[in-house]
């Protein structure tokens, strides 16, 4: 029986984004330059609408003969990522205007990247999964190289592309092995067929490919370079929305497709998580460029998220959503603050440029400090609850060594987070930053209030027993 309404509702966010993207292309073709400035509002509104569509049909459904299936788990991720993508788009405009690269293609690429995230999250079939990941990746490569006149940006884009293509190849190879040994590409079909030794090889290759996409060690090497080279607003986008979407996708695939092989992938994911935490926090210690530093920090944080994944569906699903949501919001705020580091018409990226910020710009210093303490997982800020959830998931699943690694990595990472605090608060002031865009400063403020206070007060609404638990329950069906 073909229930057209149900199908439409299930794929509504993606359908809407695809439509919005295509209309955007047309508008760009018709109005050309005149559409450039408007395109940012157009893109952001489209993304917010997509988030609303995902929220309306939160319960999810099935479409296209089982190629697409949504539930509360992925819809939760969709709502958050689409909103974050929209905000990331809004704060880009000022930056691009000053670098004379305000082009409507930028907004459209963000829309298409978000479309990719939506498709990946909805995937219930290896084909859909791959299609979504490639849509996201291809848009991301172009975005990383969006400053085509800048050697650094082009290098970042090229590096991302070459390594990303390799990872996609691995993912595809793994998927084909799984298909070969189970005879089906459908998630439920594979789960029913059971994971044989051959399919296990496929699973490992798929994990490797996906680990690249979420920049988990040892597939992380592209991250610092791309974060440093790509335009800052693009990095703000990379570090928030796709990060959250991809980790949720990893969890979705492992929890639904390979649920029976948990003993096997738990070890692999644990090792990846441990490596990411340690490599990320040690790597960040020696960085002097704030974007590189935050790049390494994001690797470490992916490690924490993977602890929740390794804990398995029962313990980890709600924890993953809680942690990723708090992390993604904090991360967006941090990169928005990096966008505020402008001096004499150019961006500055050395961490020493923050010297004495507490004297020059107390508001930015306080909000940035809150974000840093939050991402470091210090109470009473939101990040603490994310880490608390991760620890609870890890210990609940009996992964004690991994929990201890979380602690060790947190202490190491405080080494560089405190360095940032020290530079802002202890050091003598350097030259003031230029006036910050209202949208950028507003985002920094908003994110720090949300990450610092709102998540703390309303953690019971978000975390276990709240929306995250409700969303995670969708996986069980």
């Amino acid at each position: 029986m073909l229930d057209i309404t149900s199908i439409l509702m299930t794929v509504a966010p993606e359908l809407w984004l695809a439509l919005a993207g295509l209309i955007g292309v047309l508008l760009g073709a018709i109005f050309g330059e005149r559409f450039n400035s408007l395109s940012f509002k157009y893109g952001a509104l489209s993304l917010f609408a997509a988030a609303a569509l995902a929220a309306v049909h939160f319960g999810g459904g099935e479409a296209f003969g089982g190629l697409v299936r949504t539930n509360t788990f992925v819809n939760f991720a969709k709502v958050i990522t689409f909103v974050l993508a929209g905000v990331a788009l809004i704060i880009s405009e000022g930056f691009l205007k000053r670098h004379e690269t305000t082009r409507y293609e930028y907004s459209l690429l963000i829309i298409f990247a978000s479309l990719g995230m939506g498709i990946t999250l909805s995937a219930a079939d290896l084909m859909t999964l791959y299609m979504g990941i490639e849509t996201l990746s291809l848009s991301s490569y172009v975005l990383a190289a969006f400053h085509r006149d800048s050697a650094r940006s082009s290098e970042a884009g090229l590096k991302y592309f070459v390594l990303g293509a390799l990872a996609s190849g691995m993912l595809l190879y793994g998927a084909s092995l799984v298909y070969g040994f189970t005879g089906t590409t459908s998630f439920t079909g594979i789960a029913e067929a059971g994971v044989t030794t051959g399919a296990l090889f496929g699973m490992v290759l798929m994990i490797v490919g996906l680990a690249f996409k979420i920049s988990a060690a040892p597939m992380h090497v592209w991250t610092p370079d791309v974060y440093e080279g790509a335009p800052t607003p693009v990095v703000a986008f990379f570090a928030s929305a796709p990060k959250m979407a991809s980790t949720v996708v990893v969890a979705n695939v492992l929890f639904t497709v390979f649920a029976s092989a948990i003993d096997q992938w738990q070890i692999i994911v644990s090792i990846i998580a441990g490596l990411s935490m340690i490599i990320g926090s040690l790597g960040a210690l020696v960085q002097t460029n704030i974007k590189r530093l935050l790049g390494y920090s994001s690797i470490a944080n992916v490690g924490y998220a993977l602890v929740a994944v390794a804990a398995g569906q029962e313990f980890g699903a709600a924890a993953l959503l809680t942690f990723s949501t708090i992390y993604a919001v904090t991360s967006l705020g941090l990169f928005a603050a990096v966008l505020a580091m402008r001096r004499r018409g150019g961006m500055v990226e050395g961490i020493s440029e923050l010297g004495g910020l507490a004297r020059n710009n107390p508001v930015l210093a306080v909000t940035l400090s809150v974000l840093i303490f939050s991402i470091a997982g210090l109470p009473p800020f939101g990040g603490f609850f994310g880490k608390f959830e991760v620890l609870r998931a890890g210990l609940g699943a009996g992964l004690v060594p991994l929990a201890i690694l979380v602690v060790i990595s947190s202490v190491i990472s405080l080494g560089y987070y405190l360095k940032l605090i020290k530079i802002m608060w202890f050091d003598e002031p350097t030259e003031r930053f230029e006036r910050v865009d209202v949208s950028v400063m507003g985002t920094v403020l908003l994110c720090s209030v949300v990450a610092g206070a709102v998540f703390m007060v309303f953690i019971s609404e978000l975390g276990t027993g709240g929306w995250a638990s409700f969303a995670a329950a969708g996986l069980a069906n």
């Binding site: 507490a358 004297r359 107390p362 303490f373 210090l378 109470p379 009473p380 603490f384 609850f385 608390f388 620890l391 609870r392 210990l395 609940g396 929990a403 201890i404 602690v407 947190s410 202490v411 405080l414 080494g415 405190l418 605090i421 020290k422 608060w425 202890f426 953690i459 019971s460 975390g463 276990t464 027993g465």
Partner: protein, 500 residues
């Protein structure tokens, strides 16, 4: 339950005050560069002193609402918060006495900054008031996670206080302080999460009655003690303390020695003993050994110091060794003594840091060798210094004596050798304190800069005199404190016995 939420008000009053100061500052930032004028600076400090004095008044109100004869937690406020975590506050005699120490010392600290802090005063008082909220919170929280939040959040303002207003090597000291404490508390966090998973609740009262298996207790105990040993601090993880003390501004040192160290002892009494009795009993000799090493070794180290603050810092480590000794004696007299020693040390070491601050503000050096002959220029100062020197040595009639003798008697009943070792420390403390006093106060004036040094001014009087009065009062009438802490000591011991 029900009634006026006096504990919440007391806890969050300083935080509200800090926000108020922040808002006023933000509102006036455009009109004047207020920082520079001495008048504006004083106004900010005065506001902070008033806020913290109001907090002290709130704690006094809590004291009168508190029924000393009843056992268990009182003035309890409880609201559901997050899963097994609840917002639950309450006090018993132990926590109430430490809360009062905190609220008493904070206004003194702020007042002590009257002349010594001349840059970024607004940020300074905000950091201090926020710190006060977290310190009070640690003592009144009756929920594991709430406790942890207050316990760890206090690091942030203290880090800023040491790092911004500290001495020459302040950055090193601030980092060391933060990272040492953090690694301990994160291990404790793992143990806490485990306990919540096992017991299904983060409520102290549930966990106190929950019997953890002995082998699990060992691990949990170790994780908790990792945190408290750093905080107290115990040898060999005490090395952050001399650095932090020396580099911190005077008021920061007072709060560090007066209150932050007490969180370690409080934690042992609140968690280690009642919740993990088997493990505590098992590790008793180990803790005694560490306590004796701390007392003897750091006393000797203190003797060799040339920096006044560093000497007092090492003496703090030694005096905290008595606290460990008393707590792990597992008897009434030892625990009562340990609590008394914590309160007494809070007053005495706080006063000693203020005493050092008085001459530091005038001479800008803490080298013992730079002083000598102060008695002829600063007789009143010399008298106060004498009093607190004697109190730190443990002279009968001062509060220092009561704490040391009781912990030693308690320790003696549990293990003779430990008390014998600790007694050595009493002798050493006389050696280093009297040496310090002789070299700074007596003798000829050798440093020409000392020839026109002024005696204590009014503000310094206001800061130091109450501490002196209490030191003598508690030395003569220790029952004032024992009446308050008696029921909680009995309760801790009965919880221990119930668990074994």
């Amino acid at each position: 339950m029900g009634g006026f939420p006096i504990l919440s008000v007391m806890t969050f009053l300083p935080l509200a005050g800090a926000l108020l100061v922040m808002l006023v500052r933000a509102a006036t930032a455009g009109s004047s560069r207020g920082e520079t004028s001495a008048q504006a600076r004083r106004a900010v400090l005065l506001a902070a002193v008033i806020i913290s004095a109001a907090t002290f008044a709130a704690s006094v109100a809590a004291f009168f609402a508190f029924d000393r004869s009843a056992t268990g937690y009182q003035l309890v406020e409880q609201y559901a918060w997050y899963g097994p975590i609840s917002y639950k506050l309450g006090v018993d005699g132990l926590s109430l006495s430490l809360v009062m120490l905190t609220t008493f010392l904070t206004p003194i600290c702020l007042l002590a900054s009257w002349n010594s802090i001349d840059k970024r005063v607004t940020e300074y008082v905000i950091a201090f008031l926020v710190l006060e909220t977290f310190m009070i919170g640690v003592f009144v929280a009756l929920d594991l996670v709430l406790f942890y939040i207050f316990f760890e959040a206090g690091l942030i303002p203290m880090f800023l206080i040491v790092g911004i207003w500290g001495g020459k090597d302040r950055v090193y000291a601030a980092f060391k302080f933060f990272l040492y404490t953090l690694i301990g508390s994160l291990l404790m966090l793992i143990a806490m999460v485990y306990m919540i998973l096992a017991a299904g609740s983060a409520d102290f009262e549930v966990l106190e009655k929950f019997a953890f298996a002995p082998e699990i207790q060992t691990w949990l105990w170790l994780a908790f003690i990792a945190s408290f040993a750093v905080k107290l601090p115990m040898w060999p993880v005490h090395t952050w303390l001399p650095d932090a003390h020396v580099q911190a501004p005077t008021a920061g040192s007072v709060i560090l020695a007066g209150v932050l160290l007490k969180m370690g002892g409080y934690g042992m009494l609140r968690f280690s003993l009642p919740m993990f009795p088997d493990a505590s009993a098992m590790f008793q000799p180990f803790m005694f050994a560490l306590a004796v090493i701390a007392i003897v070794y750091t006393s000797l180290v203190a003797w060799r110091q040339t920096d006044m603050k560093k000497l007092i810092a090492y003496s703090s480590v030694a005096h905290m060794g008595f606290v460990t000794l008393g707590i792990f004696a597992f008897n009434d007299i030892g625990i009562q003594g340990a609590i008394f020693q914590m309160l007494s040390h809070g007053l005495i070491s706080g006063a000693l840091f203020l005493i050092v601050g008085v001459v530091y503000d005038r001479m800008h050096t803490r080298e013992i060798a730079a002083y000598g002959g102060l008695v002829s220029r600063m007789p009143i100062y010399a008298s106060f210094f004498m009093l607190f020197t004697m109190a730190n040595v443990g002279l009968p009639g001062t509060s220092g004596f009561v704490g040391e003798i009781l912990t030693m008697v308690g320790g003696f009943q549990a293990a003779t050798w430990a008390a014998a070792g600790a007694a050595l420390g009493v002798i050493f403390s006389a050696v280093y304190m009297l040496t310090l006093y002789r070299r700074t106060v007596f003798g000829e004036i050798t440093n020409p800069q000392l020839s026109d040094i002024k005696d204590m001014n009014l503000v310094e009087w206001i800061c130091i005199a109450p501490l002196a009065a209490l030191t003598i009062l508690f030395g003569i009438a220790p029952n004032l404190i024992f009446n308050l802490t008696d029921s909680s000591t009995t309760r801790i011991l009965s919880l221990m016995a119930g668990g074994q």
